[in-house]
Symmetry: C2
Subunit: 216 residues, 2 copies
């Protein structure tokens, strides 16, 4: 039986223009005293439901803006908007990630003095969004027990480029026979010190610890 492995060297993209826009965004957020959070993760990991649950708990305390990235539709922005939160939907067409320039377009066009928290929901994709700084305070990667056991091991760079990991939908772990401890071990293999939160956006489990860690 043959078992080959081929490693591809991809030439690095030049992110200079993105980094420049990210710096501008960071300055804008800082100027307005805004806590900005980029939420990344694959399709169906529950990023929108997580933001909805956070908004339910925080929108009385802070005025919130949510920026949603998707190739098409404004389903996510509308879901979060239903929680009395202002929203900007960015439709990327074919682009598989948000970049800092897209966020800059959204920020330039918005009266930011109104907000204290900005949640950015990135395009549903565990790979590309991690390569682009947006100029935010925190990059959060959301993985879910519905994704099978290998998503962390297969995407070490995304984990490394994140400031914390949210393991979502833990209420489904038992029925899916998913070993959450083993997944936490996989994160620890990539970065022993990365904060990991076990969360169910549906039941609310683990959200208080996450909110505290975000300083909100």
């Amino acid at each position: 039986m043959n078992e080959k492995t081929i490693s591809i060297d991809v030439q690095k993209d030049l992110f200079g223009a993105n980094e420049e826009a990210a710096s501008k965004n960071a300055e804008i957020f800082q100027k307005h005293g805004i806590v900005s959070i980029d939420i990344m993760g694959s399709v169906g990991t529950g990023k929108t439901q997580l933001i909805e649950s956070l908004c339910e708990r925080l929108s009385d305390k802070y005025p919130i803006l949510m920026i949603a990235g998707d190739l098409a539709t404004r389903i996510d922005a509308d879901r979060v908007g239903a929680h009395d939160v202002d929203t900007v939907q960015i439709n990327t067409g074919t682009a598989c990630h948000l970049d800092a320039r897209m966020i800059h377009v959204a920020l330039k066009d918005t009266d930011l003095s109104k907000y204290k928290v900005v949640f950015i929901e990135n395009v549903g994709n565990l790979i590309c969004p991690a390569g682009y700084s947006l100029g935010v305070n925190k990059k959060v990667v959301v993985v879910s027990v519905t994704e099978g056991p290998y998503m962390v091991r297969k995407h070490p760079l995304t984990i490394k480029r994140s400031d914390m990991v949210v393991i979502n939908k833990i209420d489904l772990a038992e029925v899916l026979e998913f070993d959450v401890d083993a997944l936490v071990d996989d994160v620890r293999e990539v970065d022993a010190k990365l904060p990991v939160f076990r969360v169910s956006s549906k039941t609310g489990q683990g959200l208080d610890a996450l909110i505290a860690h975000l300083g909100l």
Copy 2:
């Protein structure tokens, strides 16, 4: 409440070099009388388990080669290899999709006269792989009831660029309260004639119909 929508125009990449390599791959497959199938879909939709289940049913009838694409690890190739199938793992590093040139490297280095079926498992990503022809006979997109209800509506281009849709893990639809009929309707909205298969790679449900449609 503000609800903005911003549409980004991304300049199209020039896929000329990829198309050229895809044509070469198509010639190679044809020359050897090989049925070649590109299996796309997000992380954790069960692409590997689908290929394992197909190999279990087909490896006595056809000699099979499986080519797996992942950023890192050879977990998927090893899983399929355990079914007495030859494998090539392509580790893409940071690249979010397989392209025709990567496949060409794998094919050039392999004695293809030995095989009648080649399964290519693309990188786990519902967006980027759809943009790159590999030179295969059929492009299959796998979605799963674990991904929430919006993955088809949010990714119409991926659906349009596929030859068929596999809705996987339908054994979990009830426990996840997932409406499979509504998802089929979403596919029909994008392409009324696209073949859709309701499958559980775990229980085997729906696999015979899929195999028949693939002509295997």
